[in-house]
């Protein structure tokens, strides 16, 4: 006759290390998080390119968005591509003022390293982009980066 085995309940998995693991993940995300500062009012799908470089210091970058107004603003602003600076629609003429403000917010030593990143929609026309470029030249903001995403295939 077989002895009946005593049924042992499966031992509970120790969860005491769980908070540690979760905290580790939490800190990782806290450190890597960059809060989105501006509310995008224009639709931007950046073009793709192969020869792209990373923007080094995020704190030294000012962004100019160019694209057609997103759905909420279409009724008011139409569909023609527009410039967005900070949180508002703008015209290329307002770019120098924007750059001056960006410079004033940084220390003097950092000003020469300020980069402007143009995040323009791939369907935008060069006319508006050129206007912005000319304004940037006027205020001597010559470091420019055309934001683009990575394309794997090469022509």
């Amino acid at each position: 006759m077989k002895l009946e085995k005593k049924k042992k309940p499966t031992p509970a998995i120790s969860t005491s290390a769980l908070p540690d693991i979760v905290f580790m993940l939490l800190f990782f995300f806290m450190v890597t998080t960059v809060m989105r500062q501006t509310d995008l009012k224009v639709k931007v799908v950046v073009p793709q390119a192969t020869e792209i470089q990373k923007l080094e210091k995020k704190s030294l970058v000012s962004y100019i968005y160019i694209g057609s107004p997103s759905d909420n603003y279409k009724a008011k602003f139409g569909t023609a591509p527009r410039v967005q600076l900070n949180d508002a629609f703008a015209t290329p003429k307002q770019v120098p003022e924007f750059i001056e403000k960006e410079r004033a917010a940084r220390s003097e030593a950092e000003v020469p390293f300020l980069t402007t990143s143009i995040k323009a929609d791939r369907d935008a026309k060069m006319g508006i982009v050129t206007d912005v470029k000319q304004e940037l030249r006027k205020v001597n903001a010559l470091k420019l980066n055309y934001s683009s995403s990575k394309r794997s295939e090469v022509y």
Partner: protein, 183 residues
């Protein structure tokens, strides 16, 4: 006298710690935008001084590669229509000129690429043109690094990288765009 039992401080219940941490974690996960800011870096030419006399530096015809882009996103390179797919090859041949073609640049140091686009050119094509020209220079630099030092450009010491970069100096001159029609 009865001795008091030493009970010590009661332990804090840490059971809900994981829940709190998870909540925070999920919050950060949702708000995180792993925003990879990448793009094509260029340097704009400074604005000419208003009182500066116009000095049109005459460049030899053969040292300039003229790239024109019209409002219909078509390319004209040195007077011939070209597809964007061939631009890199054409630019490389123009800059390096291994066959010493008298219509191409005398030396990479003298080569200048002149880019002119219409106001109606799409931004996408403009970026593609910049990208192809940059790719041409990058490939030439890489080839020279392999040829001269037998190593890839990134693995070379800073001084040699600088030397190669200066040998193949990227000079792109952008003319003010014209409004030639189209939208």
């Amino acid at each position: 006298m009865a001795k008091k039992k030493d009970r010590g401080t009661p332990e804090v219940n840490a059971g809900s710690m994981a829940d709190i941490a998870f909540l925070l974690l999920i919050f950060f996960l949702v708000t995180t935008t792993i925003d990879t800011d990448k793009g094509i870096a260029i340097r704009l030419p400074p604005m000419p001084e208003p009182d500066q006399p116009e000095n049109n530096i005459k460049l030899k015809e053969r040292n300039v590669l003229k790239v024109l882009v019209n409002a219909a996103d078509q390319l004209l390179v040195d007077g011939k229509p070209l597809s964007i797919k061939e631009l890199k090859k054409t630019a490389k041949e123009f800059i390096d000129n291994p066959m010493k073609d008298p219509t191409k640049a005398e030396s990479p140091l003298k080569a200048v690429i002149s880019l002119k686009n219409d106001r109606g050119t799409s931004y996408n094509l403009y970026i593609q043109v910049h990208n192809e020209l940059k790719a041409a220079y990058n490939e030439l630099r890489e080839a020279k690094a392999q040829n001269d030092y037998g190593k890839s450009l990134e693995k070379l010491p800073e001084a040699q990288q600088e030397e190669i970069r200066n040998y193949y100096r990227q000079v792109i001159s952008e003319a003010e765009p014209e409004d030639l029609g189209g939208n």
